[in-house]
Point group: C2
Chain length 209, copies 2
Amino acid sequence: MKNINIPKTTINRLSLYLKCFIELSETKINFISSKELAALVGLNSAQVRKDLSYFGKFGRRGLGYNVEILRYKISEILGTHKLWKVAIIGIGNLGRALLTYAGFKERGFKIIAGFDNSPDKIGWEIDGINIYSIDELERIIKKEKIEIIILTTPKTAVQEIIDRLKKTKIKGVLNFAGKYLVADENFKIRNVDISLELEQLTYFVINKI
Amino acid sequence: MKNINIPKTTINRLSLYLKCFIELSETKINFISSKELAALVGLNSAQVRKDLSYFGKFGRRGLGYNVEILRYKISEILGTHKLWKVAIIGIGNLGRALLTYAGFKERGFKIIAGFDNSPDKIGWEIDGINIYSIDELERIIKKEKIEIIILTTPKTAVQEIIDRLKKTKIKGVLNFAGKYLVADENFKIRNVDISLELEQLTYFVINKI
């Protein structure tokens, strides 16, 4: 499938739809109309139909979208129909919150290991996940075939860790570390900045749009 | 200033530029070219110039952008040139991580209070911030003039809290609670979903774009 021309904003909304489909399939709802789906995600139904039409004919007039099929199809597009092995580097409050977040697995992400440099944390097991010394990073990534890193270290530790990760086979980094990272040829990077989320909120508050 | 026609994606990038300007002003750099700024955020310089041109003539040929002026201007656009009073509802690992995150203040957000329903947490003070019983929500919001809520409760608690917040004067909710919330007429809502961030990452990993 050629996804290359799909707008990024559509890809973003696919995650929203997927989340709805996962919740719907838990409630045993088998079909949903574009109108109902639009209401769940706060969009208009024309937008929903347009977004989902990029990927072929999913909907059936009068019956709506098949929840299970669409759940699978969108997972496939986003790459989460398989389970990704994830490690978290930096087991502070945020790292710990992510380590124990039960919702990742149904979305295709399995946390395999945590890393920290504090002797207080190394050797611990949290919800069945081992916390390793950062010295063991390359060895464990290789042994456990970890593909995705969630980075929750302090800003100051980021560059050294990124340099080390370049020599591993990881494929992507979700970066919470407060230092903005630009794309790397070795792996994909996505920056998450909670202050940015707050700013985007206040922009809409002050502009009342 | 009329911001109504600015694309959402530009508003998003403004936060990235702002983050750079804050870091630059700490390092005493006074001017930056569109090319240098573009490199810092991983964009091309034409995009940077276009984004910043929405808000008037900030750059000066040969000299570049004035860091302090642009920092102020973008803050003004995003509404963060003033300090917003924020409360966090749900003091689990994530709530605690956000409560103690030092980076909010320089971006215009001051955490004033935390709320929880656990007797183990109520009455505590974390980094000078009081943790109140959720029963006191309306009283403290009014007393402290809180405008923004960060919601980090379990999914099951969300609806009741949103209903209570509707009767207060808060202006925005940043929602981490795992239950997608659509827009509300009483306040703005922005949903943050870390699984979504991971999915957006894996999409780009599997499509190699």
